[in-house]
Amino acid sequence: MTERTAEPLLRVTRLFKRFGGVTATDDLSLDVFAGEVHALIGPNGAGKTTFIGQLMGEIAPDAGEISFAGERIDRLSTPARVRRGLARTFQITELLTEETALDNVALAVQAGQGHSFRFFRDARRDRSLLEPAHEHLAAAGLAERGGVRVSALSHGERKQLELAIVLAARPRLLLLDEPMAGLGAAESRRMVDALARMKGGVGILLVEHDMDVVFALADRISVLVYGRIIASGTPAQIQADPQVRAAYLGEGDA
């Protein structure tokens, strides 16, 4: 591990969120450094997806601070956070199902280029959109599938497309919400390869159940149980932590 003297890219300080009687996020503090893969693991219902929602501004926290690259972002809208370099994938894919895979990525490229108040030129033939879109599709392993409608893509391909779309946003920090969920063995391998290629280039907060993937990719791991971080450290430290073994690894070491 490298020595970290710099500011973290993402710093979350004492975040709280309650839904009625349920505390989904309980005094959560966490940071992610530039280029680091920080995995967030925990049993189902631990509040991982809710946490990502708060980082992206889709859910408003009750208390706490979120800073990104030294700037407070917890009051910003989702698009404003995306413009500053945050991007997420969705666990249950959130795609434009009537469009082709290429169009989905091209639209993300377009969004990254600034405003879209251009009313006359045909966007379907705009090389400045299509060429980068092809590149991102290829990077996510979908080079051959660009012309296929999303509704005709397999589950695994949709997951890959999610990845291509966030790449188009050129994020500095990627929030990946269970990118492996529901993938077959071959699809999983392709996804791990794609993630491994990206490692180091961008910061990644990886929410994942597949422990093999987590231990293969993560620089650091935090364990979330009932909205609380019960342990945080290197993969070796986490593996050795008795509390973690009892609460999590012991019961669901899949």
Binding site: A87, F119, F120
Partner: protein, 337 residues
């Protein structure tokens, strides 16, 4: 890049273009056909259809492409009509509106103003309505349209309930708008221009964003698109088109009244869009033609035609998805997707 479909695609689009040209030629020749077959009333009916097609196409931009279910589009249509009526009233009286805006009977003045005013109204009320979504948005657009309806009912200076008569159609330089066929061609020209504009818009970057918002607003936010402002601009353009249609209708009927803003008019515009196929370019025109044609036929048959139209509408919604094209699929026994 090599596109294997390219040659086939080019052929198909050439065919499409040809079909469009034939259709347009037929539409342009319609007044002659009407006279030749001894049905001069057909031209007037066709004028109505062409005008309502503009309104329906405008609603389609919001409803079909962006997924904004506006149940108040008759409001912008009526506002456009009233701009023509009020300007005519001041033109006749010679007294300027608000003391400084002179009246006018020139189409080249009244139409742009109607579009502008409809755009202003839809900007203000759209900015408010778009703070909500889903079923609230439907209710709110309906309610705001009803507010404007009551506003014009209470506007006694401009006829209130009774509306305003525009004794003579607005004039155009070198063109006699008082002639029925000529005015039909004027309306047709505006309709063609408006549909061309819609075609450019839906394929532009802006149009792609609208389609994205319809399919997943959450995804659009996640790629960094501030959706509210796109929805608002879409809503305003849509309102402006309805204003244009209203201004043309005020000229065609030479009459404006609060009925133009009645909520059933909003409902009819929605039916036209759905009937023709929401989110298709020419669908709203087909929808307008079918609905107006159907209404005219049923009304000639019985005064209680709505007792037939209502159930027909229910059946269409329940058993065909996607309006006429859904019906065609159903008849062919094809797959509904």
């Amino acid at each position: 890049m090599v596109d294997p479909l390219k040659t086939g695609g080019a052929q198909r689009s050439a065919l499409k273009l040809l079909a469009l040209a034939v259709l347009l030629a037929l539409l342009a020749a319609l007044p002659f056909i009407a006279t030749a077959t001894g049905q001069p009333a057909m031209t007037s009916l066709a004028t109505r259809i062409v005008i309502l097609a503009i309104a329906a196409a405008s609603l389609n931009l919001a409803l079909g492409y962006c997924g904004l279910v506006s149940f108040g589009h008759a409001a912008w249509y009526g506002v456009g009509g009233y701009v023509v009526g009020i300007l005519w009233r001041h033109h006749v009286s010679g007294e300027p509106l608000f003391g400084f805006i002179p009246g006018s009977d020139q189409l080249l003045v009244t139409l742009p103003l109607a579009i502008l005013v409809a755009g202003l109204f839809s900007a203000v009320l759209g900015a408010l309505s778009l703070r909500t979504s889903g079923v609230q948005f439907i209710m709110i657009t309906l309610a705001f349209a009803q507010m404007l309806f009551f506003f014009f009912v209470a506007l006694k200076a401009y006829g209130g309930d009774d509306g305003l008569i525009v004794r003579r159609r607005n004039a155009l330089p070198f063109i006699d708008t008082r002639d029925g066929p000529t005015f039909y061609w004027v309306c047709l020209a505006f309709a063609v221009a408006w549909f061309l504009l819609m075609w450019r818009i839906v394929n532009s970057r802006f149009g792609k964003v609208l389609a994205g918002i319809r399919q997943s607003e959450r995804r659009m936010a996640a790629i960094g698109v501030a959706t509210y402002r796109y929805k608002l601009v879409c809503f305003i353009i849509s309102g402006m088109g309805a204003g244009l249609a209203g201004a043309l209708m005020a000229n065609h009927a030479r009459f404006v009244s609060p009925d133009m803003l009645h909520w059933t008019q909003s409902g009819e515009l929605m039916i036209m869009v759905i009937l023709g196929g929401a989110g298709t370019l020419l669908g709203p025109a087909a929808g307008a033609a079918v609905l107006i044609g159907l209404e005219t036929q049923l009304a000639a048959w019985t005064e209680h035609w709505q007792a037939i139209l209502g159930p027909l509408l229910v059946l269409m919604i329940l058993f065909t998805r996607g309006g006429l094209s859904g019906l065609a699929r159903l008849v062919r026994g094809g797959r509904n997707d």
